[in-house]
């Protein structure tokens, strides 16, 4: 990826979707430490509780993670001491329906659909979400600068989720 810059047509939708699929694969495999490395240092990972909220910082969210919170969260999920994530529900996820919504010299915004099927205690649950990504180009390649996962039912009762969306 070393020679790729965003203002050249070199970063294609295929590059971006490959990046997002690799992220999804890390999450399903609980490879959370590698997942942390996908992020830019000031990246924000947000799961809102209401649809259509613009000012996430002043709203209650399911999660609103900067780098420090992401690291603490990963430590917790992998610690073996969290009853809901030791083990977590198994997950199989797909991300698709990619739409590029903005592009400038340093980043691309994408919108996509995500469907996760989770399984625990003989019960399947379906978590559908719209996901907004901002993907930045850094010296080391593509980085996640922002990921907002808006669950289809985010404003209704959810359940304890012991893994990452």
């Amino acid at each position: 990826m070393s020679a790729v810059t965003l203002d050249r047509p070199a970063v294609t939708l295929a590059d971006l979707t490959a990046f997002i699929w690799a992220e999804a694969d890390l999450l399903d495999r609980l490879a959370y430490k590698d997942w942390l490395k996908l992020w830019s240092t000031d990246g924000l990972y947000i799961v809102p509780v209401e649809r259509g909220v613009a000012d996430h910082a002043n709203a209650v969210n399911v999660l609103y993670d900067d780098a420090e919170m992401r690291e603490m969260r990963v430590k917790r999920l992998l610690s073996g001491f969290s009853m809901s994530s030791a083990p977590p529900a198994r997950t199989v996820r797909t991300v698709s329906r990619f739409v590029e919504t903005a592009r400038n010299e340093t980043s691309v915004d994408l919108r996509a659909a995500q469907v996760i099927v989770e399984y625990k205690y003989e019960r399947h649950r379906l978590l559908a979400a719209d996901v907004d990504y901002r993907i930045e180009l850094s010296a080391e390649g593509l980085k996640l600068a922002r990921k907002v996962v808006t669950l289809i039912n985010c404003d209704d009762p959810l359940h304890g989720i012991g893994y990452l969306l």
């Binding site: 799961v47 509780v49 209401e50 910082a57 002043n58 709203a59 209650v60 969210n61 399911v62 999660l63 609103y64 919170m69 603490m72 969260r73 430590k75 917790r76 610690s79 001491f81 969290s82 009853m83 809901s84 994530s85 205690y121 404003d155 209704d156 009762p157 959810l158 359940h159 304890g160 989720i161 012991g162 969306l165």
Partner: protein
């Protein structure tokens, strides 16, 4: 379908004796129906905080037991709790979570209701004869009373006044509301989630400090050392106290009972930046100290039977859905001081997200624990659920005459189950 008579005949109260309960209390569907009748249709049930109805013609929807309700503030400011059920042929009249409107129009045949529940207009009135009077068909209205900004409703016209029902809990509600930092308390948002388990499993948990260091180890591990010491809930001489009528308080951090005390104490390092931000908003030194001290909430959980708790820094509301499904709402609260307290409210929101909600560092583990109770209780017919834990409360803590035990005791659960038994036997 159960028959009403069969429900009435069963000696439900006998399922709890002294300090133990029969496992059937979590899993018998007929008992659940009886509870909805004898408890949730009989006593005061929390429905809203005053700040959730911020002006004339505002509303939110909710439940009293299993009944969907509409909680409204009319144009004169009075609060009403109305069954969300059209008087014509039962359609729900409103499916929004909250909002502002001066009329509720049933979508089916267009009967329209005022926020106080009165039937304003019936389309094509000519199809009813002259004896039909819309005044006879208001939305069903529950009794409503409030204390310290918390709004309760009941189906029971003969229930004692709310303040009498709350009794000794009122002092703790007043203390809890001091986290408004002098500006009053305001709802900032909420999380809600369901777990596959009986509602009483959650009711017990609000006064269960015993589980905290075990279940919430990963939360504690994520804190800086100073904060971790604050959350050493078993090691600070706390206690649990029966407040009567099923209510109880569990004090975990005695130094955070009264948020207006000790304002001259030095501001902890971890709040230095927040204090500077608040000072930059123009608050004087005393106000900054009051806001900073209030930012983390109180050091106690107040459990109000049967469905709400004032839990450290938020309201925990339970809603029984069916015998093995319970919905929990964690209502985040902050200071009602507008933009100038923005930094404090943002800090409160981030603290709330850290522990609470479907992906918090605490809640998913609680929910898993509660589900495990519901899974486990399928085994062991006749084996009791034990709520007998507890040694004496530290000297000079609880009010004389109140049953009390150490902070890890199950006194609060026994208090709740005694009230449960009283109501189920009535």
């Amino acid at each position: 379908m159960h028959s009403e008579d069969a429900v009435a005949e069963r000696p439900w109260g006998a399922l709890f004796e002294g300090d133990r309960a029969d496992g059937a209390i979590y899993r018998d569907p007929a008992l659940f129906d009886a509870e909805m009748d004898r408890i949730f249709k009989n006593t005061w049930v929390w429905v809203a905080h005053d700040s959730e109805l911020p002006g004339p013609n505002t509303f939110k929807t909710g439940h009293v037991g299993t009944s969907p309700v509409l909680i409204t503030r009319d144009k004169k400011g009075q609060v009403h709790v109305l069954l969300n059920r059209c008087r014509h042929r039962a359609a729900s009249v409103c499916e929004k979570k909250k909002g502002k409107q001066s009329v509720f129009v049933c979508p089916y045949h267009g009967w329209s209701y005022d926020p106080d529940g009165s039937l304003r207009k019936v389309p094509h009135r000519w199809g009813y004869d002259e004896n039909f009077d819309p005044a006879d068909y208001p939305l069903f209205s529950l009794r409503v009373e409030q204390y310290a900004g918390m709004i309760f409703a009941t189906f029971n016209a003969d229930a004692p006044p709310l303040e009498e029902h709350l009794g000794a809990a009122r002092k703790w509600m007043d203390l809890f509301m001091k986290q408004g930092g002098g500006f009053g308390v305001k709802v900032l948002g909420q999380h809600s989630f369901r777990f596959p388990g009986n509602w009483k499993i959650q009711l017990e948990n609000t006064t269960d400090a015993y589980h905290f260091p075990i279940v919430h180890k990963t939360f504690l591990d994520s804190l800086d050392e100073e904060t971790e010491n604050v959350f050493d809930v078993l090691g600070q001489g706390g206690w649990v106290e029966d407040l009567g009528n099923g209510h109880s308080v569990m004090v975990m951090i005695p130094s955070l009972i009264d948020l207006e005390a000790d304002l001259e104490a030095p501001i902890p390092d971890r709040f230095a930046d927040l204090a500077a931000e608040l000072a930059a908003e123009g608050h004087d030194d005393l106000t900054v100290r009051r806001l900073v001290r209030a930012v983390g909430g109180t050091g106690f959980n107040l459990n109000l039977f049967p469905n709400v708790a004032c839990s450290m820094a938020f309201f925990r509301v339970l809603r029984p859905v069916d015998v093995a499904t319970t919905e929990i709402t964690h209502v985040a609260i902050g200071m009602d001081g507008g933009e100038s307290v923005g930094p404090a409210n943002r800090a409160r929101i981030r603290l709330h997200e850290h522990f609470q909600g479907p992906m918090g560092f605490g809640t998913p583990d609680d929910a898993e624990g509660w589900e495990r109770v519901q899974r486990g209780v399928r085994a062991g017919e006749g084996m009791p659920i034990l709520v007998n834990r507890g040694v004496s409360a530290p000297e000079g803590t609880a009010e004389p005459g109140h049953e009390a035990g150490d902070v890890s005791s199950e006194v609060g659960m026994r208090a709740a189950y005694r009230m449960w038994k009283r109501m189920m036997d009535e």
